[in-house]
């Protein structure tokens, strides 16, 4: 077997394509939900009251300090014990969102804290309420300033989707493992998968660069 033979892998490219599409779908869904979770969690984590702050900090720390695979198992196999049964794909999206949300909330929190005090004072001096200041003065520049870190986190989230094959989601790595079981061509299949992931990451990065320019034109100004 010491030669590379891609025919077996390529003849099952339809399977791979399905896996790829599913990977893209669950990743994008998770990114969107994670971002919403992150904004809420970041906001709450900056609340003065400990009762509000502490649960959020606990959420973030527990997620950040345990392996993702364990979180996936607990959601898929553990929740039914509490009467909540999620389909594999739903469970995967939920797990990825919770996981990504914890990391992104740290990033967004840093962004919010990085907003110059003078910005908030200017808002106050204009008579704006705290909520108006947060929505109109703080949030957008905060997200804009940490956008590159968010993109990096989204990429890690995309890659972490390879783990959810463990709960029978037929995403890219899972499909690859299935094909591997059929063809026994492990090297070939992993090389192909690696190339696909790198391509997916490149596409994600590229579209985020464009999105950044559209959403935050003020970051790219030259006098």
């Amino acid at each position: 077997m010491n030669y590379l033979d891609f025919t077996g892998v390529l003849s099952r490219s339809d399977l791979l394509l399905n896996g790829l599409v599913l990977t893209a779908q669950i990743s994008v869904a998770a990114m969107v939900i994670a971002l919403v979770i992150a904004v809420v969690a970041a906001t709450l984590s900056l609340n003065e009251r400990r009762v509000v702050r502490l649960p959020v900090l606990a959420y973030v720390e527990v997620i950040r300090n345990t392996p993702f695979i364990v979180q996936v198992f607990l959601i898929y196999f553990g929740l039914p014990a509490l009467g909540l049964r999620l389909e594999p794909i739903t469970a995967a999206i939920v797990a990825m969102s919770i996981y990504g949300g914890a990391y992104c909330s740290e990033i967004i929190r840093a962004g919010i804290q990085g907003i110059a005090k003078g910005q908030i004072e200017a808002g106050r001096a204009l008579g704006m309420s705290p909520l108006t200041i947060f929505r109109h003065i703080v949030l957008k520049p905060a997200v804009a300033s940490v956008f590159p870190s968010l993109v990096a986190q989204f990429i890690l989230l995309l890659l972490s989707s390879s783990v959810v094959s463990a709960i029978s989601v037929p995403e890219l790595t899972g499909t690859g493992n299935d094909i591997q079981g059929l063809t026994l061509r492990n090297m070939e299949i992993y090389l192909v998968i690696a190339v696909i992931y790198v391509a997916l990451v490149a596409i994600l990065k590229g579209s985020m660069t464009v999105l950044e320019r559209v959403l935050f034109p003020f970051k790219f100004l030259r006098r």
């Binding site: 003078g118 001096a125 204009l126 008579g127 704006m128 109109h136 003020f218 100004l221």
Partner: protein, 253 residues
């Protein structure tokens, strides 16, 4: 303007009596007494750390004084939400570092408060904003972002932004000290126009020519107290205290 007429002695815009402000154990304002009448232009000067910014910031409730009585634009400044909101709505503030909102265009900077605080429609707010941008002589920069402007232009936008709320009192905290020397003039010119049009203004600044030109009164602060206060000619010609003399010697080389 009704609120102003309600105050005791004619049309006082600011009445401070025995106002004290502490940061922890440090006393930043020490029994400040100050009256500002409608239409007056006051220049505040003094060495670094003397409490000039603190005073200005207490006037629009960005900082809260701990004792003494402070009435601004007819509103007594206290901890209540209504008082703070009312005071801030009636005062406009211009900061040393402009503090423009970098993610909004110039005109959006001037529209946001009228829309979100006064509840103006977008069109109304735009019309008002355009008017004030014209008044500070940069109507053509309306659609640029702050980062695309020079420092002097940015500070003029900040002035327009404050004016867009039609404040009864304008506060300036060293508005020209972050500017390149060539841009100082354009901002001072704008401020001179405002003063001559009859706005009530309190300006912390070291630009003594500005003080000579338009100030009705110069106030000299040191270590949290108002040490001297008087017409600019008198103040510059014959400062009463040793501290003021020293300070003027340094500032005027």
């Amino acid at each position: 303007m009704s609120s102003i007429e309600r105050t005791a002695a004619g049309i006082s815009v600011v009445r401070a009596s025995q106002v004290c402000k502490y940061y922890g154990g440090f006393q930043a304002l020490d029994h400040i007494d100050l009256n500002v009448e409608k239409g007056e232009t006051i220049v505040v000067c003094g060495p670094s750390g003397s409490g000039k910014s603190t005073l200005i910031r207490c006037l629009n409730a960005l900082e809260r004084h701990q004792s003494g009585k402070l009435t601004v634009c007819g509103v007594e400044v206290n901890d209540s939400r209504q008082s703070v909101d009312a005071v801030r709505r009636k005062t406009g503030m211009v900061f040393q570092n402009f503090n423009l909102f970098p993610h909004m265009t110039v005109i959006e900077n001037c529209m946001i408060a009228p829309m979100k605080v006064r509840g103006m429609s977008r069109d109304q707010a735009r019309a008002t904003a355009e008017r004030f941008l014209a008044r500070v002589h940069i109507p053509e920069q309306a659609d640029k972002y702050p980062a695309q402007l020079s420092g002097g232009q940015q500070q003029r936008v900040a002035i327009a932004r404050a004016l867009s709320m039609s404040p009864e009192l304008m506060l300036f905290d060293e508005p020209t000290s972050a500017l390149d020397p060539e841009m100082v003039r354009e901002v001072l010119d704008t401020m001179v126009e405002l003063a001559k049009e009859g706005s009530t203004m309190i300006c912390v600044t070291h630009e003594m020519n500005f003080a000579r030109q338009v100030a009705d009164r110069v106030i000299f602060m040191d270590r949290g107290s108002i040490v001297e206060s008087g017409a600019p000619e008198a103040f510059f010609a014959r400062p009463e205290t040793e501290r003021a003399r020293e300070f003027l010697a340094q500032i005027l080389n």
